[in-house]
Subunit: 217 residues, 2 copies
């Protein structure tokens, strides 16, 4: 099994990292400092396959890297980790370019939406890596178990490299996603990132965050 790095120590990184440990992967959680309290608590809770370090440590360790950082910080995190540490690797980008500057609910960062996307900007920053945008359209508990939506929803993948998308799909299947649509190259991440506003409005209208989208066809 490939070694996996999880960038980010928030609820999303914690949930993804824990699920991967439970699936038998070795996982290193990366953060700004080597002694991040949340990362160390996660390591203590998750046994011998769990470790932590700086973003650079994690990026160097991982053969597959999950981007679980906040969308407005992601590009800086990749720079801090060292661009060369991602060369030839699969980046599973689950972040969204949310803009909280106009209050709640957030909109999308204008320069990273509509005619651009966070997924594309990460791919431009890491030209030797293979970015796959996926999982960004549900809450983190549904990400790691599609059945928590109560049905058999659809997950999308976007990316320029077919092998990297296959690698991502293998992990998606272990997260109980069975209906997976390959949208095409990384520019199609515009479409999935633009699902965030309807996700937020549906959550606000129904009071239930354990839902997902299904393409009925």
């Amino acid at each position: 099994m490939k070694k996996i790095a999880v960038l980010g120590t928030g609820m999303v990184g914690n949930t993804i990292g824990t699920k991967l440990i439970n699936l038998g992967y070795e996982v290193k959680m990366g953060s700004r400092t080597a002694n991040n309290e949340k990362a160390l608590a996660w390591v203590n809770a998750n046994g011998a396959n769990a470790s932590a370090g700086t973003f650079t440590d994690a990026a160097a360790f991982g053969e597959i890297i999950f981007n679980c950082t906040k969308g407005d910080a992601s590009l800086n995190v990749f720079k801090m980790a060292g661009i060369e540490n991602f060369n030839g690797k699969t980046i599973i980008d689950i972040a969204n370019p949310l803009d909280f500057s106009h209050g709640m609910p957030p909109s999308l960062i204008p320069s990273l939406s509509n005619t651009n996307s966070l997924g594309e900007e990460i791919q431009k920053l890491l030209p030797e890596a293979n970015v796959v945008k996926t999982l960004n359209i549900v809450n983190c508990e549904v990400m790691v178990d599609a059945k928590k939506s109560g049905g058999d929803p659809t997950m999308f993948v976007s990316g320029n490299n077919a092998e990297a998308k296959e690698e991502a799909k293998e992990i998606l299947k272990q997260f109980n996603w069975t209906d997976i649509i390959d949208l095409g190259d990384i520019t199609t991440a515009r479409g999935t990132e633009m699902l965030l506003p309807i996700w937020l409005r549906t959550w606000m209208a129904t009071g239930n965050g354990y839902f997902a989208f299904k393409i009925v066809q």
Copy 2:
């Protein structure tokens, strides 16, 4: 049954108008000129309950008005029709603010997306009317028969006026939509209009335009 106006003579206006005639409504199709060839052909094909006229004629006739014009033309059409002709009426806005200036697939018009929407701008232009955004997230044949998606998909409604939304929902039910989510006020149209990019990318990836979105919860 209330009289209905359909603004626009394209494929969407034609399909919506014909379905409403088949349901027993009196329908007037509006266009820039009183003698629009496509409108007259539609009248000839649809019997005594079908009529045509200018945008102003149609707006004055209709108690419910469907906006089936192209999104980049919609605001001008409402101005041409006379703002006062919409006072107190329900506007069912099914248009999308598509921007073809960057090539295919279209993006959204920046000033009408993310922190704004076409639905909101129509409501601002027609302060005495009740705008309901709905149906804009599927192709026009699925709009008038949800079952053409092959399942039981979700339709959203957005609008400031509860009675107008009920009126829209009554028509949606006649179009075979059974799973309807009321997202809230007209600002929630931002979310449904931002579904267009994923609609376009899914269509391009699957080659099938007869699909719809289902909220699995």
